[in-house]
Symmetry: C2
Subunit: 348 residues, 2 copies
């Protein structure tokens, strides 16, 4: 509040800042400088106990047998029909302790139900962990000035648990942008303001300012939003997550039989970009609008944003696999039809 | 919005109106007249298929063997440890179709996980159903004037599926107040405004106006709010739901072994009321404040409200079973300690 937040949304039953009142300034700060985000809404579902490793492999259709302590992995979580329920980052803290850093759906209940029904010796909980993201090309300098130069050697999605001024944290090279940066997993919610101020002060020489997961940048960069770009039928192959599915995982992995079937048959939809005609920002009425080709619906526009770098309205198209990059399409929106062209993702 | 809603909260990932700007007027309208509430946030988890009846008995630790089509039941849903996950109204629509009209937690994922892990032949979904509540002593006249006098014969929690001006609905005698009334389960979200206006017009002779689940009335009436008055350890016996738990349900009911153990050992906490000293409305800083007796913490104040009828600040106490009605206690709140007296619930 003290930083001037002026809009919020809800996410995992908490409030997430979505604007500090200067959209374009906040965008360029992320692209060219460094931005800090309260993403405490990225809750952790902790799996702890002798069967934690077994449970995580049952939940995620990605081969985790080589995942090391201190390593993170992007893991689609599917139901028994192969439908995507969440796309968390898995963090392996110990052989018997994992975090799933979740998107906006209740994986706590899901994991607890599976754990108990399988009779596993593992505790599922939501610990007191609240991530703070530091994103942008200058993020590394900021985070290194706080924690030391070792953060420069962290590989993508790897993390280390440490502390700063008595505040327990895990520092990970991750974050929901493609501009580089870190997430600092605060492990004591009572010290949030203290940690925020440490980062803010360290970032002053680099022009740090407040921000949030940036809608424009994430669309330009092709980052999927679970629940935004997915519906109740979406499987990982439809939204460019096929490379995070390993079909050879054990047969007791939830949804693997369905995923093998879908992979064999080939998915019915795929995710492309669409660049709309026109050179003025469009009104924000673009969510899940019909996309037509030759007068017939071929899928949906699942998001739309004005791209500050492309100076075009762009969005994701979840469309029939018969639609291909280069195809001309029509998007039906409130104000009337708009022409566009399909393309590969990411845009930039 | 057209009715002048001025505050909302989130509930089951949707927005729920919480004020139309005139708290005391809205309260007395419920107590003495009739109030209409958009409670579309009460989502329905539908269980449909040959094993729907089996699944619902697996999920709920209440004997449902005698539940009839058209009947509703209040059913605590617990996890395998006997901890409360939700307290929905179950509506039996057909031998192979049930709705769980849920409080604020994701029972869809929970039920889906249990159904699939048990290999049951049942589909779990969230259908297009949005309840509208009509509450207060004059609610019956309003609802009868719309649907006919048969609604006067509906027993508590019973319902009938019907339609009004082509709008498919289920009419149930239920609602989150103790002032009597009905919930109209709209089964076509596109017709919400139309249904709202039908009820509004029928209610004019009775002085109907907009409202919402009323915090003051529900505390006076002793109604539990899942997630508000419960924490991650609360079992049904602690919050006066023991009468809705049947220990003889089948052994494969989720949590029944734990619930039998808790019942045999006796719960550690119970829920009482507390009447605070003072005769001015207290500031709203009263949630989960420590309750002390003889200088030692004995539990928590889980809600607090100014009672318009009692002219006192009242709330629920989740306290050690050693604390009893009549005990003098001290509540630690932001502005300092306040004395109070424990009592039985409901207050009125």
């Amino acid at each position: 509040m003290a930083e001037g937040v002026c809009a919020m949304t809800t996410y995992n039953l908490m409030l997430m800042p979505t604007s500090y009142g200067h959209p374009e300034e906040e965008y360029w700060r992320l692209i060219e400088g460094v931005s800090m985000w309260d993403v405490a809404v990225e809750r952790q579902v902790q799996l702890k106990g002798p069967d934690a490793g077994r449970l995580v492999q049952i939940l995620a259709a990605r081969d985790l047998s080589k995942c090391k302590i201190g390593q993170g992995k992007y893991v689609p979580i599917c139901n028994h029909h192969g439908v995507l329920l969440n796309d968390p980052i898995l963090l392996k803290r110990a052989e018997d302790c994992y975090w799933l850093s979740i998107a906006d759906s209740n994986i706590w209940f899901w994991a607890e139900a599976i754990a108990r029904e399988r009779g596993l010796d593992v505790e599922v909980s939501e610990p007191d962990v609240s991530p703070l993201a530091v994103q942008g090309p200058k993020a590394e300098n900021v985070v290194a000035s706080i924690f030391g130069d070792w953060v420069r050697d962290l590989k993508y999605f790897w993390f280390r648990e440490t502390e700063i001024n008595g505040i327990p944290v895990a520092v990970a090279r991750s974050g929901w942008s493609k501009q580089g940066g870190f997430e600092i997993y605060l492990m004591d919610g009572s010290k949030g303001t203290k940690l925020w101020n440490i980062v803010k002060e360290a970032g002053q020489p680099y022009g740090i300012g407040p921000g949030n997961p940036n809608w424009c940048e994430r669309v330009e960069s092709g980052l999927v939003a679970y629940g935004g770009d997915t519906d109740g039928q979406t499987n990982p192959f439809e939204v460019r997550m096929g490379k995070y599915v390993d079909l050879h995982v054990p047969d007791d992995t939830v949804g693997i039989q369905a995923l093998r079937r879908i992979a064999a048959d080939g998915p019915k939809r795929h995710q492309l970009g669409v660049v709309l005609e026109g050179s003025e920002p469009a009104k924000a009425d673009f969510r899940w609008n019909d996309i037509e080709k030759d007068g017939k619906k071929i899928g949906d526009l699942t998001n739309c944003t004005w791209s500050f770098r492309m100076r075009k309205n762009i969005g994701f198209a979840l469309v029939s696999v018969t639609a291909l990059p280069g195809d001309m399409v029509v998007v039906q929106r409130g104000a009337g039809p708009v022409e566009g062209t399909l393309c590969d993702l990411p845009f930039l």
